[in-house]
Amino acid sequence: MSTVDEPTKTISDFEATLNKADTAVATFEKDDKTLTHVLRAQLRKNPTLIPALVLLVSIIAFSIVAPRFFGMGALSTVLKQTTVTGFIALAQTLVILTAGIDLSVGAILVISSLIMGNLAVISGLPVFLAVLIGFGFGGLMGFVNGVLVAKIKLPPFIVTLGTLSIFNALKLWYSQSESIRNADIEANASGLLWFGQGFNFSGASLSYGGITLILLAAALWYVLNHTAWGRHVHAIGDDPDAAMLSGINVDRTLISVYTVAGLICGFAAWIAIGRVGSVSPIAFDTVNLGSITAVVIGGTSLFGGRGSIIGSVLGAFIVGVFNTGLSLAGVDDYWQMFAAGCLVIVAVALDQWLRRASQ
């Protein structure tokens, strides 16, 4: 490139001395080498480092407080307890990465499980068909959210607040507020309970649901980091206008994100039936906020564009470890909620700090 220009005809006087100035404008200076800078840079590059560390520290801390906690038995219990929240957190991560939020995930899960239960147990459909239909309805409900967000351009919070209420009403209407008992499921459609089963592995009892959670998380990690769709999801959350000008079909990507989130919730319904053993219209009423808590603790920014699937799984585990650990330590239940609240606030404060560092 032409570093030194021939003094051009109209070069302004005030710039004349620039020829003598340092021409290395576009070099990339190294960050300051202070400890906080290095730390921030590392954390920004590997945002999952924080939840991983927090998980490790909390496991060690609870093992000291409650010796029964440390061991495969208790840890596999944590995995079992966080399975459903973990699935919903995966769906929530996708939506939050686009700078949205989905408050209807819990309701989608419950409706899908009611459809599966009703069709398989009461109508006597084959289990795989009942599951497929419930799964499809999960996707449909997500699709409705996506269309409202992308095409009608309503804020995701408002859309999903509305559909949360609508889906809640539909689930009570559809189920007539009646649960399906475990005994009926076992007698008529035991396939619905498959994900609750598992095997023992050196003192840990692993359920198929828990293993599936890990597999799905791995698959989503791959999709988000190694496919164009995943990059587009991040870009839309980062700056939707820039994404549009870069040639990304923002509307279609948003609809696909909400639809995939709905599908994951529909699939989680099957897992949830196996986990609980019955189907109830009033189950999983805290899973909405639980999933957001897990995502935020996992380091995904509510402002979109940055975060990770692995972090959300770790976030769900952290909440599970705190709940199990605190109850094994003999602490009253309400302190579990207290702890989860503190974790959320600390996590968001950390996210803000990292953002400031990036400017």
Partner: protein, 260 residues
Amino acid sequence: MTVKPILEARGLMKRYGTVVAMNGADFDLMPGEICAVIGDNGAGKSTLIKALSGAVTPDHGEILLDGQPVHFRSPDDARAMGIETVYQNLAMSPALSIADNMFLGREWRKPGIMGSVFRQMDRPRMEAFARQKLSELGLMTIQDISQAVETLSGGQRQGVAVARAAAFGSKVVILDEPTAALGVKESRRVLELIRDVRARGIPIILISHNMPHVFEVADRIHIHRLGRRLCVIRPQDYSMSDAVAFMTGAKLPEGVTEAA
């Protein structure tokens, strides 16, 4: 003997309600030149540029690329025809890496089953291409092609955006206020970059309010006024104050009568 314009617009009209943004605007871009577009605020130059880059569809008039009429319904259409635009806000995603940003919306996939079934991006190939394009423009002082764009300075981001446009813009590169947000030194660097892009044979449309920059790099200056082309001048023939006088209406160039 006459050189045909590579990109031309004839009689573009665009109305927003009662506001006439373009009133029969013409435009010509010759091969291998830098054509600056200047005009007062509200003269309709950004609507003209948006029409050329596909962001706005004119109500009337036609756009010809290489002499062939083209109809852009979206920036994607224009991009597919080889017209790349660097927007003033740069249209980059701060959290993504330099390479990811350069390929945003046109990612390359791995060959074979990994690409077709698993839709895996070909990161090594994309990063090598991005690195090559940046070093061609002398920007390879960037150490790490996978660093996030938000860690770059304003001038560096502009450099990456120009490199992206130059890498994919086979026909025309449009730069909207590339130096507006930059300091003196960084502006100089970007102006050099613009010359380098022209040296590679790609014609450039430069929109700028900065008269010294326009007069320094432009081969021809298109002056836009009241929704249409007032005149095209060569920077050697006129002074900056003449240009400002033309675009504000204080003075008329010879041979032009302002038909209001």
